[in-house]
Symmetry: C2
């Protein structure tokens, strides 16, 4: 399976935890990790390569030069890295037809095979939308002229690369950003939803993009179907969304002990 | 290392989770598990034996006949099993000089070697007391005539068997129970504290008998020293004290996800 990650130096540690959890829970699968970056140092890349190779998996590094985004509009304090997952199809080898983008602030605790091999005919992406109504409505309102169907989270994003090579236009993305500069809060996610929301296949968030902040909410709205048993046995991806991260001091949450458990295995390795 | 457990059928599942966590976090250690029981069925014993042998560890079964406790006073709804950990020295082979008793409602996530090999010269036991002052004071008051030094939790109890064979008297224990029948709440623990509290070597509860209900309390009183990082890296034994157990529906707590993680590994094995 092809995995895409895009990080800077601050996210090396969480990336290792995420990849470790992915590998350990897919002992019979082979992964090729595509790492798109512009600022990692050679020793950091070597360390990541050793980390991944020692687990019998493969790393492919895609170093992006800033001049490749010379004509991209810049938004507030965001770097051009915000475009990486949207324009990845231009940087990945033409021979691969799909890749699963994953944020580094996650642990993967069950198989992602069903997600990865999803039928994407006619879709550019697959993603989960975080369906807590008030938030979704605010986002819909904010991007109103684009008549979005749902507000998808871009932290887990399955890319249909063949379709994207034909249908996504860098120019259109840059125009969208130029036009909406002031409205954008999470630029990559806003672009995704503003431009492509109708071409995104929906996947179940409690399985593939479980927002760790909302355990009690999921449990309640599912009438206790999505309880800790369900999650540990079925949820593939737990996503530590938001500003508070489980590798920070003073984080609290239902999955803190589990995150620290995986993190420790990385520290010991 | 010698481990003592005493369960009935209701605790087979948690026992397996506890033992699994013990074995997996002591990959270089050998254990002999002594199981004292009076009511487990043959097929349950066979299943436990297979479970333990498949992990290259050893089970020794000690079946206790009820007539061996014919003259023991009975307290309320408690069975004579309440005496097992206190009188284990009579049932264990004379060749072994120490054993670590463990409750089944625990997970063992770091090494217990330092606890197990503690110098017990002059002590009958080693245990941790759960030092939340109001509770301790109530217990001290309740058992006042016995002038107890601290109220130890009997869920993790290192037994100095040589010393016990010389100094513990079954008769004294039965007399104590007869005399205090109406006061006893957790009989084994009350006996331990009422009769032997001065001969118990204290071990650090945050390392060897971490009460899972009190994460925030430990974190606060330790001024953030005992945070999730500390626990995952140093705490050996997490004890799910109290009536709410992590294998029940509707349990909530900081270590629920971690417990379920270990439980799942057992279910898959």
């Amino acid at each position: 399976m092809n995995i895409l990650v895009t990080i800077n130096s601050n996210y090396i540690h969480p990336l290792k935890v995420m990849l470790h959890s992915l590998f350990i829970n897919h002992s019979n699968d082979k992964f090729c990790i595509y790492l798109m970056h512009s600022s990692l140092k050679d020793r950091e890349l070597t360390m990541l390569n050793n980390f991944i190779e020692s687990r019998n998996q493969q790393l492919k590094i895609i170093t992006v030069d800033s001049d490749q985004f010379a004509n991209a509009p810049v938004v507030k304090h965001f770097s051009v890295e915000m475009y990486y997952r949207l324009l990845a199809y231009k940087f990945l080898p033409p021979s691969i037809d799909r890749v699963l983008y994953l944020d580094p602030d996650m642990i993967i605790i069950n198989s992602i095979r069903e997600l990865y091999y999803l039928d994407l005919t006619g879709y550019l992406y697959a993603a989960a939308y975080h369906d807590r109504t008030p938030i979704t409505n605010i986002n819909k309102l904010r991007l109103k002229p684009y008549n979005i169907k749902a507000y998808y989270n871009s932290g887990v994003l399955l890319l249909n690369l063949n379709e994207q090579r034909q249908k996504i236009s860098e120019k259109k993305i840059f125009e969208f950003v130029e036009k909406n500069k002031k409205k954008l809060i999470l630029p990559d996610q806003d672009i995704l939803n503003g431009l492509y929301s109708k071409q995104i296949k929906n996947v179940e968030e409690t399985l593939y993009n479980f927002d760790a902040r909302f355990y009690y909410y999921y449990k309640m709205v599912s009438k206790n179907k999505v309880d800790m048993d369900f999650i540990i046995n079925h949820t593939a991806i737990i996503h530590f969304c938001g500003k508070k991260k489980p590798w920070y001091k003073n984080y609290y949450g239902s999955f803190h002990s589990l995150y620290k458990h995986y993190e420790r295995q990385v520290n010991l390795s």
